[in-house]
Symmetry: C2
Subunit: 137 residues, 2 copies
DNA sequence: CTAAACCCTACAGTTAACTCTAGGTCAAGA
DNA sequence: TCTTGACCTAGAGTTAACTGTAGGGTTTAG
C-alpha cells in the first residue's frame, strides 16, 4: 500500500510539515503510523481524514473541538450520536455563514458599482447627492 | 445630530468597547470625533463606516490592509482607482470563498447522511463495505 | 456634594494556530 | 566512509486580534 512522507503529505494537502507535526502533537492524527525508526508514514486514508479535518477547520471549528471528534472516532459506535449531532451543528453553522457571505457579497458589489461610477467621473462627488448611498468608506 | 458613546456604538455593532478603542489605535476610525474632554462620539455615518470595516473583515482582510483603504479614503479622489481595484479584488476573493464553502457543505452533508444511517443501524459497520465512502473520520 | 457609572490612555496579557530553531538520528548516494 | 538531506522532538518565538488592568478624569443621579 502506497504511503507518503510528511513532506509529501504536506504537499498533497497544501499544508506544511510543521503544521502536520503540530496537528499530531495536538492529537488530531493519532492514527498515522510510524516506521521502526519513528518516521511518520501517511496512508491514503490518513490524507482523507486530514481533508476532513481541513473541512471542519474551514467551518471555523477550533482544533481542540476537532480533537473531540477524533477522540469520539476512536471510541467507536458508542459515540455515533455525538458525531451525528456534531455534523448537524456544523451544517447549521456553515449554512449561517453562507447567508452572511451573501450579504457581504451584496455590500462589496454595491461598493464596486459605487467606485466604478466614481472612477469614471473622476470624483467621488458624483455620489454626494444620493439619498441612501453610503457617503464614504 | 444623534451620536453614540463608545459602549452604545459597540452594542449596535455587536462589538466591545475594547475592540472599538483597538480599531481607533490601529487607525481604522480616524474620523470619529471627540468631545472637549476627549470622549469619543460616534455618528450614524461612523457606524456605517464600521459596518463596512466589519464587512471587509468578514472577507478575511487583515486590519492593516483595511487601514490602507481608510488612508486612501482620507486622500480623496486621487486614490479612487486603488479603492475600486481593492473592491474588485475583494469581490473575487469572497466569490472564491463561496465556492469553497459550497464544497464544504457538500462534505458536511455527506457526513450527516453517513452518520444518520450509522446511528439508525447502531453501528458504523454498515458503511464498511461501501466502495467510495470514507471509511472513518 | 458625593458616589456610581461612565469615559480615557498606556501597556501588559491572552489565545489560536502556527512557525521556527537547536540538537540529534537515520538512510542513501559519491 | 562521509556527507547531504530528510526525518525526529522539545520547546521557544511569532502574529493577529483582541482582552483586560491600572490609574486617572468626567458626568450624572440622588
Amino acid at each position: 500500500m502506497k504511503t507518503y512522507s510528511i513532506s509529501e503529505a504536506a504537499k498533497y494537502l497544501d499544508l506544511t510539515a510543521y503544521t502536520l507535526r503540530y496537528y499530531d502533537k495536538e492529537g488530531l492524527i493519532p492514527f498515522v503510523e510510524r516506521t521502526e525508526s519513528g518516521t511518520r508514514r501517511f496512508k491514503e486514508k490518513d490524507l482523507d481524514a486530514l481533508r476532513m479535518i481541513e473541512c471542519l477547520k474551514s467551518t471555523g471549528m477550533p482544533i481542540k473541538e476537532i480533537k473531540h471528534f477524533i477522540d469520539w472516532c476512536s471510541e467507536g459506535d458508542a459515540t455515533l450520536q455525538q458525531r451525528y449531532d456534531m455534523f448537524l451543528e456544523r451544517k447549521a453553522c456553515v449554512e449561517a455563514q453562507l447567508e452572511e457571505m451573501k450579504k457581504t457579497i451584496e455590500m462589496i458589489e454595491h461598493k464596486c458599482r459605487y467606485y466604478q461610477t466614481a472612477v469614471e467621473a473622476g470624483t467621488e462627488d458624483i455620489h454626494k447627492g444620493a439619498r441612501l448611498e453610503f457617503p464614504e468608506y
